[in-house]
Structure formats: C-alpha cells, structure tokens
Amino acid sequence: MIGSDIPRRAAVGVAILVLLLAIPVLGLDEYWIYILTIGFYYAILASSWSLLVGYVGRISFAHVAISGLGAYTSAAANSALGLPLLVSIPLAGVVTGLVGLAIGRLCLRLHGAYLGLTTIAFSEIVRIAFTAEYEFTRGSLGLPAVSLFETTDRIPYYYSFLALLAACLLIMWLVLRSRIGLFFAAVREDEDAAASLGVKVVRWKIFAFTFSSIIAGIAGGFYAHFVQLVTPSMMSIQEMGFVLSMAVVGGFHNIFYAALGGIFLEILLEGMREIGEWRMTIFATAVILILRYAPNGLFGMLLKRISGRRSRP
C-alpha cells in the first residue's frame, strides 16, 4: 500500500532485526535468549492474528486453538506415525490450513460479535475435546514431543524462531502489499460495495482464514518441538487473551507492530515475574486503555511521533 514514510519505518525495522540477530553474540543471558524465543513464537501468532482481524476485519478468537492443533498434529505425527519433523511440521500447517478453510467457509455469513462467539465456541470445543480424549492426547498431562535439535543449547532455537518469524512476516507483507491486500481492505471496509465492484468476497474471506491458520499451525508445530510438551492449556481463552493483548498493545492494524507487541509483552511478562498474578491484570488494563485512547497501538503511536508526519493505520 502507498505510504510516504515507508523508508523511515523500514530503517527502524532493519535496525531492530540487526539487534535481534546480534543479541546472542553480545552475550545475553541464556534465560533471556529462551524468553525471546518464546517472544518470537507469540510474535508470529500476534501478527498472523492481526492480518485476519486488522486487515480483513474478521474477528476470530480461535487462533490459539488452531496453533495448538498444529502443535498436537506435529507431535502426534512424529511420535505415533514416525514422520520426521521435516514432514510433520509442514503437515501441521496443512491440517490447520484445512481447519481454517472449513471455519472460513462455515462462517462466511457471520460478522462481528457472532463471528467472535462462533470462534470462541470452536476454540473451547477443541480444548475440551483434547482434554477429554485422554487416550490420544494424554489430556491435561500433555503430549510429549521430540526436540527440534539434539543440543540443549538455546541458541539454535533462537535463530530458528527468528528466521521463522522473519519468513512469516515477509510472506504476509508480500501478500498484503499486493492487490490481495487491497481486496482485504475492501472486504473489511464494506463487503457489499466490494462485491458490487467485482471483488470475490467469498474467496478472500476464506483465503484470509486459511492463510492465517497455516501460519499459526506451523508456528504451533515448531513450538511443540521447542517446549517438548503440548498441553490443552495452550488453547485456552487466557492464551487467546494474551495474544490479543500483544496484538492490541503493539497495534493490530499492522503486522509488524503486532509482532513487536508479541516480543515486547513476552519480555515484560517475564520481567515482571515478581509481581506474579498481577501481571495479566496490568496487561489487561493496558489493553483497555490502549483500545480506548490509542487504538493504533503503542508502536503505531511511537512511530507517529518519530516520523512526525501523518501516518496511516
């Protein structure tokens, strides 16, 4: 999409990327490298969620359930069917892509809150089912998953997830700046007008769900072999609230801001460990305040200040 302050924003983005690449080399504590890796995972979820909700305007609360499905798929395909990770992780993306396609298809005529409700219902059904079917999933105990790398070193995971995040952002960005991104915006702004102008609304709505689900599923697949245990709690409403907070705080009308929100909030979550339970309370308050007073998110607001010009959401 057209924008006159892109060069400045791109420079900031490159600077952040260089910083992230350099961090392990600069000798950061192993623990924080681990936390940042988790942050990258959430960044992928937050940005792919913002694509669906911010760009296309399709509210979904099923995102973490879909990611969880991907995690379970890869873990199970690998341990039960003996498929190598190189196959099971893409398979996770295929499975979640199909699920996303089904949801997208089913929810075509649903909008706003009805769509939100349906996706919450779906998310809870999945969580309940995976908790109940003990024989297949080991319920709340969790399904063990083989580790991605042989080594216990944190650094390979760090770079893998960073690469995955960069790749996902790149793919999403390419789609969004193409005419598909324009069609997404048209669907979001006014479906009827878009249809009357020849935009294949049905196709793009389904595509949006499928696309974001594939990304969530692959991220989930990677995640399974990182934390090495997949539990139904990763599909809970609390988790969804977490991802939503990250996207909203970062700025959910922009995939890059949402991704930054993911990393930022994960760091904050760990940094505030002493406060314990009150962390989520503070985050939730932040979400409410930002929705009310700075709806473009923190990073949207920040970059507006830095660049000084009128920037579009």
């Binding site: 057209i2 005419r179 009827d192 102008l197 935009v199």
Partner: protein, 245 residues
C-alpha cells in the same frame, strides 16, 4: 432483436410483504431509463435483484441473453453490471486512489501501474485528482458520490444502476454528475437511474418507468409517463389520505 436486459415476472417477498409483484420490463442497449415511484414501491429492491444482492422467489433476469438470477454480485460485476448505493459505500480508511484501484485490479491481467494511470485520469475528470492520496473518509458527501461514480467507471460496465445519486448533493457537483451520466450514455452504456429528483429525471432520461407497490404502472416516454393518471394517483393519491411525494 432482444433487448439487453429483460426481466420476466420478478417476484420478491420479505415475510408477508411482496416488494416486487411480477415485474416484467425490457431495457434496450444504450437506454437511459429513469425509475420513479413513491417510497416503498420497490425501486431499490429491483436494483438489488438486478445486481445480485437479492434472489427473487420467482422470475428470470436475462442480461445479454444469459440468465443472471442467483449469481453473486461479483460475478455480475465481471459480466458488466455495476451499481451505486443509496447510502454511499466508499472504502473510508483507504485512499481515494485506492478506492478506484480495487475495481481496477480485479482483472489480474491489469498491472498496478496501468490501473493507477487509468484511475488518475478518471479522478481528474471528476475533479477529485488532487485528493487522490487523501483517505476517502475526508471527502464530503457529494465528493463521495462522485467517488462511487469513479469506481464504477473503472469497471467500464455495460449497464450502470444508480440508486438516488443526487441525494444531498451540492448543485455544482450535481451538474458534474449529470455531465458524467450523459457522457456514459453517449458512449453506449445503458443506465437505470432511481431518483426522487424529478428535475434530474426529466432532464436526463429518455424513457421512464414508474413503480407502485411492486408493480410497473407505467413505462414510456417522459411526457406520457408524467401525464399518466396511474402515476399521478400513485404520487398524489385520490380521495385517500396518502401524502404527496
């Protein structure tokens, strides 16, 4: 020779209400038809059926010989039918130019550069050229209506359906809209125009059709329709307490 647009016995019901009651009408290529009638007579419903937003319970709509009943609005747009909306539906949070790029790029063989060039030309013609980079939300009501025209022009449609385009528009802009409509029609585009603005209707239209309670009560040359007793009764009523339009 068959007419470009033929509707036969269109019936559209909403619960107990019959909005369109066996509407059969034929429209020739290049026609500039005015569609009038009191509020609730079914004009917008008819437009919605023609543009694929409503599916009629009965009847057929044939465009250039092909039946188009039940097809999606986007398919009808590709077939050459375009429309505007009574309450403007511009894409508010993208730019004026991008509003035109949306229809322009639905054809994948068109490159973004080609679409942008065409769009800027159209915007200049509508005196919106200098606003190309503005968010469409910043436009005035009249400018928004013109923007809808611009989007339609990007499609180069064969049939254009206009639903109350002059509502609340400043006289100078209305003038520009009249010129644009005449220009379209001069190039061979068929136009169906719904309006309560009788001045514009009689100024622009070569033929007029009148609806009342979902039925076509008159269809012909402007003078004939304006003097038709059925039309006069529909608008003014006789002996009943119906208020004049």
């Amino acid at each position: 020779m068959t007419a470009q647009l033929v509707t036969q016995g269109i019936v559209k019901r909403f619960g107990g209400l019959t909005a369109l009651d066996h509407v059969s009408i034929e429209i020739e290529t290049g026609e500039l038809l005015g569609l009038i009638g009191p509020n609730g007579s079914g004009k917008t419903t008819f437009l919605n059926v023609l543009s694929g937003f409503y599916r009629p319970e009965q009847g057929d709509v044939r465009f250039e010989g092909q039946s188009v009943v039940g097809r999606e609005p986007s398919a009808l747009a590709a077939a050459g039918i375009a429309r505007s909306f009574q309450v403007t539906k511009i894409f508010r949070r993208i730019s004026v130019l991008e509003n035109l790029l949306v229809p322009g790029l639905t054809d994948w063989s068109v490159t973004p550069r080609q679409a942008a060039e065409k769009a800027l030309k159209i915007l200049d013609g509508l005196e919106l050229g200098r606003l190309a980079a503005e968010p469409a939300a910043n436009l005035s009501g009249g400018q928004a209506k013109l923007l809808e025209f611009g989007r339609i022009m990007m499609l180069e449609p064969k049939l254009v359906l206009l639903d109350e385009p002059f509502g609340g528009v400043h006289p100078t802009l209305k003038h520009l809209m009249h010129d644009t409509i005449r220009d379209w029609n001069a190039r061979g585009t068929t136009i169906i125009l719904i309006s309560h603005d009788m001045g514009s209707i009689f100024d622009l239209c070569r033929r007029i059709a009148a609806l009342q309670n979902g039925k076509v009560i008159a269809h012909g040359l402007p003078d004939a329709v304006r003097n038709d007793p059925a039309v006069l009764q529909a608008y003014l009523g006789t002996g009943s307490t119906r208020a004049a339009v």
